[in-house]
Symmetry: C2
Subunit: 199 residues, 2 copies
Amino acid sequence: MEKRKRQPVVTRRRILEVAGEEFSKSGYAASGLGGIVETAGLTKGALFHHFADKRSLGLAWVNEVVADGIRGRWVEPMAELGSLDGLKAFCRVRLTEMTANDELAGLVLMAAEMGSVDAVMAAGLEEVFEIWRGGFAELLERGKLAGWIHRSIQPAVEAPFFVSMICGFSVGMRLPSADATRRMGLMALDGYLETLRAV
Amino acid sequence: MEKRKRQPVVTRRRILEVAGEEFSKSGYAASGLGGIVETAGLTKGALFHHFADKRSLGLAWVNEVVADGIRGRWVEPMAELGSLDGLKAFCRVRLTEMTANDELAGLVLMAAEMGSVDAVMAAGLEEVFEIWRGGFAELLERGKLAGWIHRSIQPAVEAPFFVSMICGFSVGMRLPSADATRRMGLMALDGYLETLRAV
């Protein structure tokens, strides 16, 4: 009984994982359900048991997988940081590990593709970005209170700037100059974060 | 004779214009040649006279239209700037006029969609970004010589950072929070540019 209950959850997760890889690599419009079920080793019937259509699959990927990814990779670790040097080291790690086809690249591509085309998708994407911005803003608030972020810093201003900047770097990971962009980006990001320091 | 010679040039330009609007709005993968010729009021035959396929059309759009746009909207005006306050005012104008479906949004979307999928397209996109980065780097070099950019600033580091940041803002223009992102972005960009000032 336990096993029979769990199988659909595993299948659903497997579909989302394969679909996410495909969305992140080729984009939403260029991703076909046929290729997704083939890679997942499933039938279209199994996919339609979990998702009504490609749009439902795209929405679930954004609302569940990507939202969890942003929480896990950005928001939760940021909640543990207690110094500007810690924040700088953390950002360095995130920027260093970025790749052309990772989940963040997929999020940015989905936002660029669907943000102004599909209002429901846009709302889901917005929520993910808001979780991310919120995590950074909260960190800055906390840093101000603790005295390691300068008191003149406005978290609500810096947060969308920070998130935009990281998204811009992610687009850069898809270009031939990715390595140079990363190298220069690491230095420039360090310089930017230094401007937040309490003096 | 003159008129007969010019007509194909006009038609070609019209196709590129309509295709660019479609790429910028819906993305490359979601754009169909059928819709493009219909909007342009042409036949598919007329399109194929100028472009072998959608890819040729996409490449020509990037290499000609978008490259010219980046030169005209960013590089050439930046070559006229002679102070940090001038640079700040210029960036303010560019960020204020950004829209969800403008050519810049189209460039970023094309880079996100095709940058890691098609090497020839990636090379064309890279060239456009390099023109843009080069324009900003040159401005900073000039500002250092003239004494209004701080001598510690490394143009080769700041240029990819600046371009990434603007690209990230452009993605934000496609989301429901576009107005807030723009408003906060204007303040944060101003703050960033201030860090370049010679003291």
